[in-house]
Amino acid sequence: MGTKIVNYQEEKKVYYKVLVGLLLLTAVTFIQPHMFMTHSTFLAQMVIAVIKAWLIVIYYMHLKGEKLITAMVWFAMALVAVFFIIVIGIDVSNFQYGADSYITSAPTAN
């Protein structure tokens, strides 16, 4: 099996590089709300998270070059995405009961 042969020094370098990348990105999450895209913090944060996740999956989890498993991962993610599109994008964004409804217009004043 390919995985049994290992170039220790090479792979170790990759690990450290990725760690530095992840640490940097973490730092970016902290300065972002004060630096850029301040009007869409949510979006910015999620984009950063996706980049981080991508790094982890590709390098730490060795997904690079795994055709079959990559396809499966995409499939699962596509499914989650569709759930989001339908439930959030279609159903909730057309929520019909705004003002009338108890759960959206909280009865208790602060």
Partner: protein
Amino acid sequence: MSHEYIPEIATERNGTEHEVQGWQDDFYGGKLGFWLFMLTEVMMFGAMFLALAYYNTLHQQDFLDASASLNRLLGGTNTVILLVSALTMGLGLLKMRAGDVKGAKLMIWATIILAAIFLVIKGFEWSAEYHHGIFLMHDQLLADSPLPFGQKLFFGMYFTMTGLHGFHIIIGIGLMLWLLKRINAGKVSQDHHILYWNIALYWDIVHLIWVFVFPYYYMIGAGGATGGH
């Protein structure tokens, strides 16, 4: 048990021989299986994020307010801790594959300690929230408290999701201890490291979940209440 693996041969009509894949000693099969398991984790947390996003769209402002009140410093520290622990786990696996059993064990211990620190910090956070009356079954989250719905839902999901994540960490510690035992027993070695491989994958997914949990809870309100969507 006659589980020793002797590859079997299937012969084509023209005499060509093909090795039959048995279930024993199937490294790739083991890996594939574990990835499939991780997909179920993705769906599980995906569904929780779905619930979270559902209420987020209904109560945007409340979510920002609630997020702003979380302790970003502790959360950030925990993020870094998990980052480093993912590294130690990965390095340990590398060492194992390179034949350095002792180094690998050291790295696993390092990971376990980091995981424990993570839990301790989490405990501090939770107890601080507890003192503010924001906790499971506690006054701020009850039906008749004046906390706006959006915040109640935010915190409800917060405790559920970080709690479940913490539970995964605890399981992870257990798995690593078990791994150490297997290594000592000689069942996991340079050539048979599927167990280690999969536990490392598990640890990565635990980390991966945090990569999303952290910004969604701690960061979205960081720009003050204006940092909209």
